[in-house]
């Protein structure tokens, strides 16, 4: 099984690539459009995928991926399961600041709180940050796009002097609160 590795390819000049992984493909398209239309001083490529592993046929055409975003809709259990199973197809180097989770639909539905806890546990065990986003309004989508762009800028090495992906990730990674930590350890 080919793992997705962040350092197996040479980066392109002044270009960053973000991979959005979402089982439902609902927010993915909106977010991709918001990201590419946002003004920024480097080129951004967006790759959309339903789940990992990525198809082998596109391997040559695919650029180096600098940030992998798992979009989890809290309305559906499958969304979470799919993200969880996709994680095993990543090389361990990715977890040094190149993976993050984006959760949506936290406000509606009945089991969202339990699922949010599961996502947080998942993220904490992989040392990744969790971002909450709203996808029903255009403002929410553009705010989420902006946050992802900021993370992408660091993880693609566009800000070499100020910070690095690993350093940012140690600051932003999801940590469990003490009560959650307890059940997690049990």
């Amino acid at each position: 099984m080919a793992l997705l590795s962040p350092y197996s390819k040479v980066p392109e000049l002044n270009t960053a690539t973000v991979l959005l992984v979402e089982n439902e493909e609902e927010l993915q398209n909106k977010l991709a459009n918001a990201i590419v239309q946002h003004e920024k001083d480097f080129n951004v490529n967006v790759r959309l995928a339903k789940k990992l592993p990525l198809p082998v046929e596109n391997k040559e055409a695919r650029p180096r991926i600098d940030l992998i975003v798992f979009i989890v809709s809290l309305l559906s259990e499958r969304s979470l399961q799919s993200a969880e199973s996709s994680l095993s197809h990543l090389h361990s180097d990715c977890f040094l600041g190149k993976v993050c989770f984006l959760v949506t639909d936290a406000r509606c539905g009945s089991h969202t709180q339990e699922r949010l806890v599961s996502v947080r546990k998942l993220a904490a065990s992989h040392h990744c940050p969790v971002i909450c986003a709203e996808h029903r309004t255009a403002d929410g989508v553009s705010a989420a796009a902006l946050r992802l762009l900021n993370i992408l800028q660091v993880s693609a090495g566009m800000t070499p002097m100020s910070t690095t992906a690993l350093y940012l990730s140690t600051l932003t990674r999801c940590s469990l609160t003490s009560d959650l930590q307890e059940d997690y350890l049990q």
Binding site: E25, R47, L48, A49, P55, S76
Partner: protein
């Protein structure tokens, strides 16, 4: 006008919005232009009804005219009440040459022969559907026009749509239909919905179907503008395949607006673990009900967007393939019921 005619009229007028009353009355063509002009549609329903009753009495209209009005109303608003589908089987050789007049005569003759008091009215609708209104009575009581049964049949098709039929009258109606359409027998179609249009479209295949073939891939008309050059899709082939699969199962374009689908499970619990459940002799019963304002559209979207994993289970595609929305799933049954797993969507 007797009491029954008044109540029928009252019920028809009460159901429609004030602004549509004028249209209905002019279609009915029983009141004169002056009488129509004199009606004030802004008044409360009760006063309008009284006014119409006065008009009817002065024009000597009777129950027959009023039932005609009710039929016109139902022809215009077919999606009311609960409709059931029945399927005619074992067509005889001359079933294809049944004419409207012949059908009418035989149907009426048969029912009049078995029930003394019955009132039957037939109308041919624009789309070649025959609408039949039957008010049932029995040997000692007059036909009850407040609970009429409506039957819709398209000649030379094997489906009949029935609404508001009492169980005790079912046998008479079925016999009359079988005789008049020259078929061998009639059976339950296992399809019921509030919308006659949806039922007709589904059973008479009046929606855009997609057939599996290698050459003709349907064009996906996407709402979204073409992709930005910087966006790449990793699973685009898979997405197309899913879309094709969804359209093959549930049709392309607007689908019939079915509202529910019911699956009754009569299966035994299988699997190890809980012995108290799996050891039992009797069935493990359960009902799975899907409901939506447009069920087929929802299911298609579920499959096309990848929320449900393909291929589409035969249990769900049977809704369109076999034109049913009520299924019984048994352990060792024929047909659809052979697969005992629960639907995955």
């Amino acid at each position: 006008m007797d009491e029954q005619a008044r109540s029928v009229l009252n019920r028809v007028i009460r159901r429609i919005p004030n602004k549509n009353i004028k249209n209905l009355l002019s279609k009915w063509n029983c009141l004169s232009a002056d009488q129509l002009q004199a009606l004030d549609y802004t008044k409360p329903k009760r006063m309008i009804v009284e006014h119409i009753i006065d008009c009817c009495e002065s024009s000597n209209l009777n129950l027959k005219h009023i039932t005609n009005l009710e039929m016109i109303y139902h022809l215009d608003n077919p999606d009311q009440g609960t409709w059931y589908a029945c399927q005619l089987t074992d067509a005889q050789d001359d079933a294809v040459c049944v004419e409207l007049t012949q059908f009418k005569e035989q149907f009426k003759a048969h029912l009049h022969g078995v029930i003394r008091h019955i009132s039957i009215k037939m109308k041919k609708h624009e789309d070649d559907a025959i609408w039949i209104r039957i008010a049932w009575g029995d040997n000692f009581s007059k036909p009850n026009h407040l609970k009429p049964t409506y039957v819709v049949h398209h000649l030379h098709t094997s489906y009949v749509f029935i609404s508001n039929l009492m169980a005790k009258h079912k046998i008479f109606l079925c016999q009359a239909l079988v005789v008049a359409t020259r078929h061998g027998s009639i059976k339950d179609g296992h399809l019921s919905t509030r919308s006659l249009t949806a039922m007709r479209d589904l059973l008479l295949r009046r929606y855009q179907q997609v057939f599996p073939s290698a050459q003709s891939k349907i064009q996906q008309e996407r709402d979204s503008p073409p992709l930005h050059p910087c966006i790449g899709k990793e699973h685009s082939d898979y997405e197309e395949m899913r879309h094709q699969m969804a359209c093959e199962a549930f049709g392309h374009g607007p689908t019939p607006k079915l509202e529910t689908a019911v699956y009754k499970l009569e299966t035994r619990y299988r699997g190890n673990g809980n012995l108290t459940v799996s050891d039992r002799e009797e069935f493990f019963r359960g009902v799975v009900r899907f409901s939506s304002s447009s069920l087929l559209e929802s299911l298609r979207n579920c499959v096309a967007s990848g929320m449900a994993e393909g291929p589409v289970t035969p249990l769900l595609s049977a809704i369109t393939r076999r034109g049913r929305n009520s299924f019984v799933i048994t352990d060792k049954g024929p047909g659809v019921s052979s697969q005992a797993s629960a639907p995955r969507a």
